[in-house]
């Protein structure tokens, strides 16, 4: 029967996606970049919307929430998955509200006035059936996909506004967004880039070779030299894994040191992060914030005699508080860290913060 074929096909795809997520969790960075993960997640959600059986918006949201929980559980550090799920949920709410004819704005805002006048929780069941809802939702998800495809280019287009000539720019590790950003600026301006290699994975080496091949003068330094050379650096431009709800970052380890050194020398710290990295999480959950990989990267098995007597830690991420950040550059423009909460309210619905 065609229906069950579609269903099995769908579940297969979801399983394949989950297993890829689980496998890609080694510390060297995911097997694919975050933007690819975001795109794949969105494509998968579109497929679920198209092929799963649902009659009302509420059912669809339930299905997506369930799948979203499974996906985030597969790889908790890959927050783009959860972000995309929340975006799609918000799209569904919007389309539903539009079909019903009421404006979304009024429903969204949790103002004191609303709390007083509404008298209790508003009953928003999402039970009504609208025929064109499916088509509308799929169309909106397609728009989301086009937006995702253009994020890196949108960010790179802003490069010339931020980089002048003869600058010394510092970066850490490897970020595809920052790479595109710097290569775009290098077409018109001449500047010098210092890359901190970011042990133990040393992804900075790859970044440096790629930048130098694009015609940018690059220098690789060890992590220990970050403070030593910071006095000659004009700007620090880095990427991040996640932007947290308070404007802080969850970035690759070593970034907090870099941010502190930049603050000490009053060097501006610029984060190139597309909107899909914005996550409604806060940094308070200690046990879920950090991710560790095999200590073999730090103390290899060749040091056998002492290995058993020593604790070795190899965290992958660092928390950077928002006070150390100067500017966020995203695909919709530049923002201060204090503005992030506002962007969050536009992207996600407060009830979706907990999937």
């Amino acid at each position: 029967m065609p229906g069950s074929d579609k269903e099995t096909d769908l579940t297969e795809r979801i399983e394949a996606f989950l297993s890829e997520l689980k496998r890609g969790g080694c510390g060297t960075g995911p097997l694919r970049g975050s933007s690819e993960t975001a795109r794949e997640t969105t494509a998968l959600l579109r497929r679920i919307t198209a092929q799963a059986r649902w009659s009302s918006a509420g059912d669809l949201m339930e299905i997506i929430r369930k799948e979203g929980r499974r996906m985030t559980a597969a790889q908790p550090s890959e927050t783009t998955v959860g972000n995309m799920v929340r975006r799609v949920l918000k799209i569904i709410r919007e389309e539903y509200a539009r079909s019903r004819g009421s404006s979304e704005e009024a429903d969204q805002q949790e103002s004191l006035h609303k709390l007083l006048t509404s008298g209790g929780l508003s009953e928003e069941n999402f039970r009504q059936h609208f025929a064109p809802l499916k088509a509308n939702v799929i169309e909106a998800i397609n728009e989301l996909l086009t937006e995702l495809e253009g994020t890196t280019d949108n960010i790179a287009m802003q490069a010339l506004e931020h980089i002048h000539s003869n600058e010394v720019i510092m970066t850490i590790g490897r970020s595809r967004t920052v790479e595109a950003f710097l290569k775009d600026a290098a077409r018109k301006r001449k500047f010098h880039v210092i890359v901190a290699e970011c042990a133990p994975f040393c992804q900075g080496h790859e970044m440096a070779t790629s930048l130098s091949k694009a015609g940018i003068e690059t220098t690789v330094i060890a992590d220990a030299g970050i403070f030593a050379v910071m006095s000659r650096v004009n700007k620090v431009i880095i990427g991040t894994q996640t932007v947290l709800a308070n404007g802080g970052l969850r970035a690759v380890n070593g970034t907090h040191t870099l941010a502190l050194a930049a603050k000490h020398h009053s060097t501006p710290l610029i984060i190139c992060a597309p909107m899909f990295k914005l996550s409604p999480q806060f940094p308070n959950e200690e046990d879920t914030f950090h991710k560790f990989v095999s200590p073999q990267e730090v103390l290899p098995f060749t040091e056998g005699e002492i290995l058993s007597k020593v604790n070795v830690h190899c965290p992958v991420f660092d928390y950077v508080p928002p006070e150390l950040i100067t500017l966020f550059i995203s695909n919709i423009g530049g923002h201060a860290p204090s503005y992030i909460y506002r962007l969050m309210s536009e992207l996600y619905h407060p009830e979706d913060h907990e999937l």
Binding site: T28, I194, E197, C198, A199, P200, F201, C202, H205, E206, A208, T209, S212, K213, G215, I216, E217, T218, T219, V220, I221, A222, D223, A224, G225, I226, F227, A228, V229, S231, R232, N253, G254, H256, T257, L260, A261, H264, H290, V298, L299, E303, I306, K309, V310, N311, V312, H313, C314, P315, D318, Y319
Partner: protein, 548 residues
């Protein structure tokens, strides 16, 4: 008649002098005058009889030159001392002129008075040039400016050559100096070799040397064994390969090698031990500098030895003198390194309490000693060892501590902001303490101090007083050491990203060895004299200088 001749001649000369010297520094003009005076002195000694009128003529230019010197002195009105000096200069010039008028009568006495006046003028010129230089800013000064031993006199230092690699004149001078430093019986081609730089240097550091460690030193240079003692050659090789590393280890190895040199030394006939031995040591020190730039502690040790050698009385017999020197060196090692370590450990143990979590960076022999002693005194603490690429010295410290049975944790420097909330104290070692309170230590130390400050964790630096240095420095660029850039290359999962970095012309690797930590990051410095704040370093230096 003679006078009118003289005035005619001096007129145009005066004008030329004035024109030349207007707007120029006091120094150049003085130099010209001194050169002229020297020329006259020579001629005056050779041909006294015929040159009398000519001499008197040449006496005029110094007088004339003394007058334009008042001109530049009026321009910078702030240079009050130079004004005083200039007013003093015409006085001896006048005296010279006065001497000159009696010149025609008595030739031998005239030359004596002239010489005296010239000498006085030269002294004044020296002092003027020194004051002038102080106003203009210190340059690579000529050897003439010797600082008078008064405390407030500015000391014009020569820039060390190892931070002037980008100046080709300095490199040529060094090559010549190495050639010259030979024992007299040597043939011209046996000289101390000059080591060549390796690889592309980052432009910010083009003033420093960058050597490669892969090819051993003996393949790169031909070291003549008759010029350099074999113990020194061995030491140089150990330095260049990194076999002997660490400030204390290098100093102790140096002192032991010098002891061997002293034992094998015999005073050549017609020479004094106190002067000849110092000259013998100079080529060794140049060679060691080529192998690896000298550290501050090594510099202080060498100063001490040279002082001891030159203080040996002339009547002393060879054997006695040598024994005395060997004893001095042993005393130095014992006092400044071994006993100092014990004293520092005693003070530091007071700062370690039970339940402490102590963070250390890299491998500092002093800090390791402190931790082992504290453990022996039954303090309960655990240690976090932070390490960094590419040297990975922390592993050595880890091995030593684990062997003693201390509980350790090991992380890389990029994880330091993860681990720091657990830490209660940070103990750091130092390579040198600079006179402006900055701590010069292994690269990465300033980072650790920075992050510790952000988390409000106290930072304690442990350093012996013999590592205190008179230099001042505010950043890690002007004086540093560049290590082999190939050390940064790493192979992960079968791929070596930076393998052919030399072929990519826009790519550079930077492997720094030292960095400086500002004094506001450091809470306490523990020395053998006690526990002092970072800013008291110049006080200790002053006290030491007075003692010495």
């Amino acid at each position: 008649m003679a006078d009118s001749e003289v005035t005619d001649q001096s007129g145009p000369k005066d004008g030329i002098e004035r024109a030349k010297n207007e707007g120029k520094e006091l120094t150049k003009e003085e130099k010209q005058r001194l050169r002229k005076e020297k020329k006259q002195q020579k001629k005056g000694k050779e041909k006294k009889d015929d040159k009398a009128p000519k001499e008197s003529q040449k006496e005029k230019p110094p007088a004339a030159a003394a007058q334009p010197s008042t001109q530049p002195s009026t321009q910078p009105s702030t240079q009050a001392p130079s004004q005083k000096v200039c007013s003093a200069v015409p006085a001896p010039a006048v005296a010279a002129a006065a001497a000159e008028t009696t010149a025609a009568k008595e030739k031998p006495t005239k030359s004596k008075a002239e010489l005296k006046a010239e000498r006085r003028a030269r002294q004044e010129a020296d002092r003027a040039s020194k004051q002038g230089k102080k106003g203009d800013g210190a340059q690579a000064a000529p050897a003439k400016s010797k600082a008078a031993p008064s405390e407030l006199q500015p000391v014009v230092k020569r820039l060390p050559e190892h931070i002037q690699v980008d100046n080709p004149d300095v490199l040529k001078k060094l090559a010549k100096k190495l050639e010259r430093q030979q024992t007299p019986e040597n043939i011209a081609d046996k000289k101390i070799p000059l080591r060549s730089d390796y690889g592309y240097k980052v432009s910010l550091f083009s003033h420093l040397h960058q050597y490669s460690r892969k090819a051993p030193l003996t393949q790169q240079l031909s070291i003549p064994s008759s010029v350099i003692h074999p113990a020194i050659v061995r030491l140089g090789l150990q330095y260049s390969q990194g076999i002997v590393a660490g400030s204390n280890a290098r100093s102790v190895a140096l002192l032991h090698a010098f002891k061997q040199v002293i034992r094998d030394y015999t005073t050549p006939p017609n020479e004094e031990l106190s002067r000849d031995l110092v000259n013998k040591l100079k080529p060794y020190i140049s060679f060691l500098n080529q192998c690896r730039p000298l550290s501050a502690s090594m510099g202080n040790a060498i100063k001490y030895i040279k002082k001891e050698i030159s203080n040996i009385p002339n009547q002393c017999k060879d054997k006695e003198a040598k024994n005395k020197l060997l004893n001095c060196i042993d005393c130095y090692i014992n006092e400044k390194i071994v006993l100092a370590a014990k004293a520092i450990a005693k003070y530091a143990i007071e700062k370690i309490s039970d339940g402490d979590v102590i963070l250390v960076y890299g491998c500092s022999s002093l800090v390791n000693n402190i931790l082992c002693e504290a453990f022996e005194k039954n303090r309960k603490f655990r240690v976090i060892v932070v390490d960094s690429r590419p040297r990975l010295e922390g592993r050595e410290a880890l091995r030593r501590l684990v062997q003693r049975g201390i509980r350790c944790t090991y992380v890389l420097i990029s994880a330091v902001s993860y681990i720091l909330p657990e830490v209660s104290k940070v103990f750091l070692g130092a390579h040198a303490l600079l006179a402006n309170g900055y701590v010069m230590s292994r690269v990465g130390t300033s980072q650790i101090a920075l992050v510790a400050k952000a988390f409000n964790v106290p930072v304690l630096v442990c350093c012996e007083t013999y590592k205190f240095c008179e230099r001042v420095q505010t950043d890690s660029f002007v004086s540093n050491e560049l290590d082999d850039p190939d050390d940064l290359i790493v192979t992960r999962k079968g791929k070596t990203q930076l393998e052919n970095w030399q072929d990519v012309e826009l790519l550079g690797l930077l492997n720094l060895v030292y960095d400086v930590t500002p004094p506001d990051f450091v809470d306490l410095v523990i020395t053998d004299l006690g526990m002092i704040p970072c800013t008291s370093v110049p006080v200790v230096l002053r006290v030491k200088n007075v003692d010495m």
